[in-house]
């Protein structure tokens, strides 16, 4: 248990530093950035206290906000993602999730991809909706969501594959 907490604490800090020092500076084609800190929300243990999970996600977003001077945009997006996650888990994994026997290391790639895609799109849509904060620019919101999502999903899959702890 202690081991599990320490892994998530290290991941929390590491993802924040990686996000603010590296991934927020990519600005591919001028404005496309991946938001890989949602990996923390993606990989958080399935068996959890929902309230503390939401609070930790909120905190994660808020710390990113402090670094990026973005008010509460990341906090809002992370919180919404954390709140919706159980429903997404149920949708993408179905029975495995219901039986509480879900381990991220031993599920097949397709399901994992669907799960990450849905979470990423929810996160990015909320993020850009609040960042642009202007409903008349909804096309711009959707365009940003699409491009950044593609970038984030690719990177998340890559990072998960590289750091996977699956024993052979």
């Amino acid at each position: 248990m202690n081991n599990l907490i320490s892994i998530h604490t290290v991941r929390f800090i590491f993802l924040i530093l990686l996000q603010v020092l590296l991934f927020s500076k990519i600005n591919f084609l001028g404005y496309i950035n991946p938001y890989i800190y949602i990996l923390f929300i993606v990989l958080y243990p399935v068996k959890n206290n929902r309230i503390s999970f939401m609070f930790v996600s909120f905190l994660l977003g808020l710390i990113i906000d402090v670094f990026m001077d973005s008010g509460g945009i990341n906090a809002t997006a992370a919180l919404v993602t954390a709140f919706i996650r159980p429903a997404v888990l149920k949708f993408s994994f179905g029975a495995v999730y219901e039986h509480q026997a879900l381990k991220f290391s031993n599920i097949d790639f397709g399901q994992k991809l669907i799960y990450i895609t849905i979470l990423t799109i929810i996160h990015h849509f909320t993020y850009f909706l609040f960042e642009i904060f202007n409903i008349s620019k909804i096309i711009f919101v959707l365009q940003n969501t699409l491009f950044s999502s593609l970038f984030t999903i690719t990177l998340c899959i890559l990072i998960m594959t590289i750091f996977s702890t699956k024993s052979k």
């Binding site: 309230i51 402090v66 990026m68 973005s70």
Partner: protein, 271 residues
Amino acid sequence: MQQIVNFIIRNKSFLFFLLLLSVSVGLTIQSHSYHKSKFINSANSVTGGVYNLSNSVSSYFNLKEENDKLHEENARLRAILNNQPSTTNTYIDTTTFGAKYKFTTGKIIKNSYSLQNNYLTINKGRRDSVKQDLGVISSKGIIGIIDNTNSKYATVISVLNTTNKISGQLKKTNHFGTLSWNGKSPRFIQLTDIQKNAKLTKGDTIITSGRSAIFPKGILVGQIEGYKLDFTKNYYEIEVKLFNDMTNLEHITIIENKDKKLIDNLLKTNE
């Protein structure tokens, strides 16, 4: 009563979600209005320290370009020194205004240009007498206005911030308007409220007007890339191409107008 308690217990995670959501949405709304993001900003010792550390490494990658820029500026300043400007010039040269403006140099430790409301972080703070509402420029033109400060760091509201409004004018005539950003491209900002009877040509230089006490008159902004009349058909909407490459900045100069307090007090008595 029992039912209320039951309701709260049953829906506690949803209520907690609503609570946190209202906090974060509140912070977001606050950040969309000028000068309001008091708590969530990167001018504190932790974030400032992290950015300072990362900048001390990454600044080596741009040394060559920065050197070139400094050379350019040196050459320009030497030219001014050697050819004292004639008094008939339409702009007021700030180098002759030693007493009124105080210049402090600094370095950007965090740059941002891809968001809607961009803030920069610089390595000068209250300790270096940097205060809110001072102007920030680079060797090529305006960058922004100081927002929050702590003892060692300060945040700057970039010109690439949809809440930022700066007074600008044409260099060749005195028609003035408001510089703002529509959030689209980091290379262009918009100059609005220029009267229809102003004569515009593509390539005209836009400078700050000196009407607010933040920037002196004559700081370079950019050149006209295109213009059209706005929906009232009385004012021009001008697309201004910035002289500064906002995506590649390092050395900055902070301008303090020593008469700002006097001017502000005067304006206050008028209200």
